[in-house]
Symmetry: C2
Subunit: 432 residues, 2 copies
């Protein structure tokens, strides 16, 4: 039994609205799993070597529940475009480049390094339609040590000529992907990813729905992302009352895997029913929905009503990979919604932190808290104090989410293993 003890200030969620802070506490980790969290050292662990982080703050690592790995190179450019211009001028031409495996070999290790640098160790990813690149991404994720859902995306309709599949191809390559990747890893798992309803024919969605049932695989897609998108879906699928029903009707919600819907800005009663009934996770992506002028998810209202909401960077619609920044953005954006919409109540910091750690992490297992029984997927943050004016430990975590960066993450652990992003990157490009 390999036991390691870490000493530092500990910050983790106590509840949806409250953080728990243990100053100078101890985290006892056995075989990658937290065995005890102590306010004071006890006799039981006194003889183990203690790794002391001093004023460092031990927090759960972050989960990014919606990110487009192939859009990594689009971060923070073309932001003057409207959504469909941005898709046609930037995203589709760029994503289509992943037909070339050499391009994927260049880009995807950089994506993983960026996640690790910013302390995001659990991810749920969009990819492209290209089998080999998707396979590579999956294997890179396995090699990295991260937790992930990844697969190949599907688009057989309303897509550019140079970036589209036939319905048959799309279904058969998705089945092949599931068969070849399911069971390869306990940490990296396949998921079905129809891009969004408008780029999928009814036949395609039905085919994917069958796979979801046959192989018990989850779903990751966009849901009521914007008024225009929701209207277009309704036009294309007139038999469905709302966006969400398209996925239900085609059988995509029948597997036991996670059902993850990005954005959910304009949920109707149909979506509300589906999100509850199928135990779905909705993903709030504050920067992305701002950048594409989509509107603001009713996150605080949904939390109050018991929906599970996680956080996503949505790079490249969002520009920045660090989920910690999306925590502060979620608070900020909720204030704008409160300003503009009567009866809407802002998010508080503790809620946004909970979304990014607890709600994101639980999709991957016992992840997202510094508590016994949880995986020790954790960060140590430091350097948030100014000289001459001391703030509290909790305020350090808030400040980190507002103005910190990867320099303030001084140690990273996945399953209790110390992670060096540059070392992992080097291994990835050497091996693949």
């Amino acid at each position: 039994m390999a036991i390691t003890v870490y000493r530092g200030n500990i910050v983790t969620s106590e509840s949806l609205t409250k953080l728990k802070v243990i100053e100078n506490g101890y985290v006892v980790v056995e075989d990658g799993i937290i065995k005890a969290v102590l306010e004071e050292m006890t006799d039981e662990y006194r003889n183990y070597v203690v790794r002391n982080f001093g004023d460092g703050i031990i927090i759960p690592a972050f989960s990014d529940l919606h990110m487009h790995a192939p859009q990594f190179t689009e971060r923070g450019i073309g932001m003057d475009c409207l959504l469909f211009d941005w898709l046609n001028n930037f995203t589709f031409p760029q994503e289509s480049g992943f037909r070339d495996i050499e391009y994927a070999r260049k880009i995807y290790p950089q994506v993983i390094r960026e996640f690790l640098r910013h302390g995001t160790f659990q991810v749920n990813l969009f990819s492209t339609i290209h089998y080999d690149s998707c396979d590579l991404l999956f294997k890179l994720l396995m090699e990295s040590g991260m937790y992930a859902y990844s697969g190949k995306i599907n688009m057989d309709s309303n897509s550019p000529d140079y970036y589209v599949e036939s319905t048959e191809e799309s279904i058969s390559s998705t089945e092949r992907f599931i068969v070849e990747h399911q069971g390869l890893s306990d940490k990296v798992k396949p998921i079905i990813i129809p891009r969004f309803a408008p780029t999928c024919s009814l036949e395609l969605l039905k085919g994917l729905g069958e796979l979801a049932g046959k192989y018990d695989v989850g779903l990751h897609t966009h849901l009521v992302e914007s008024i225009a998108e929701a209207a277009w879906s309704k036009e294309l699928f007139p038999m469905c009352a709302s966006d969400g029903e398209i996925y239900e009707m085609t059988g995509l919600l029948q597997g036991n895997g996670p059902k993850i819907f990005a954005h959910v800005i304009f949920p109707t009663e149909v979506e509300e029913r589906i999100l509850k009934q199928y135990n779905c996770t909705s993903v709030h992506c504050p920067d992305a929905t701002t950048n594409i002028t989509a509107g603001i998810m009713p996150a605080s209202k949904m939390l109050d009503n018991g929906y599970s909401i996680a956080i996503g960077s949505d790079v490249g619609g969002g520009h920045f990979t660090g989920i910690y920044r999306q925590i502060s953005r979620a608070v900020q954006l909720s204030k704008m919604k409160e300003f503009y919409e009567e009866d809407y109540k802002r998010l508080i910091f503790a809620e946004a932190f909970y979304m990014a750690t607890v709600n994101g992490g639980k999709v991957f297992g016992n992840i997202g808290k510094i508590e016994p029984g949880y995986k020790f997927n954790a960060l140590v943050i430091d350097g948030m104090q100014d000289d001459g004016y001391k703030i509290t430990t909790e305020q350090c975590v808030e400040r980190f989410c507002y103005i910190g960066d990867d320099r303030n993450i001084v140690a990273r652990f996945i399953d209790g293993q110390f992670i060096d992003p540059e070392e992992v990157y080097k291994r990835l490009i050497e091996k693949y």
Copy 2:
């Protein structure tokens, strides 16, 4: 004549809505002032030593037209508070600490280092009511090489017992401040800073108005920052039709110095007249007005109507010192305004960049462009390219404003002098 030639990609505003990009250009600097900007090397300058920045991008340094130097230590904390809670629980207790000059000696050099790190070389600052600390800040600014307006703030009403002055004290110490600091420097100049109308009696504002005329000094204050603030001003000054008229009526707009108004979120026709008539600069502070749930300045509309708008970090209402990030935030926030308000048109990136460089810089003289006749107050930015996917020079600047940080600023110049923020900081704490 000291001439230096810099080679790099050059990006500067061509107009309000367009950036000018010169790839592999040359900037000829003589005695701190740009003498020529060349697309190709000419015989005239061929024999000078060229400092080559390679793929580095030479851009104008940023101006922060509204920042509270004593609130530096409040960056990114207490963000769940509403404005008046935040003032009473965080800001007033903290600012009152500047009665102790030793505290000011600790904090203010850190503020200046932070500006320099983030490439902000022209600043317009709030301080506190304490003469000695304000004097120190002014002298530190002079020593740093930066361009600045700074002074002491005024508050004799509606302020906590522990952080308030008498009307006479407030006027006399302001006069003393102007007399003792005016003319000390061509680059750092005094300005009159009534905190905002509610913390100033009519008598105080009239006294300050006399000083503005007598010494020809400018004005820096908050204007129609929030609905609550504007309503409170109107209640306290029932003889004035709107916030702006208070400053006009009391003579504060009569000097020839700059008149700088922060926020201007709800300008009435009175404010619109005053802003034009007195050639005022309004300051957009996107993060701050989000954090305090104040609303969104009608920036694009005001630009279209010919008002001069600059950018401010408004630390600590805003959480981050880097003005480059406020450029992207201004674009983002304008999209939310477009989403919620009919007929409102978003800002484009070039406009926000213009606000942060040209409109901010001109308050300090010929500053804010890479053009002949302008001071060479400039940055070189680099490292915005990913491996394997090349973006344009203009996109690099956009990306820098969205996701870059001080690590991407690889060289800094004020008046043509190379600036090392750590070296300046060391000098400041040694000397003061």
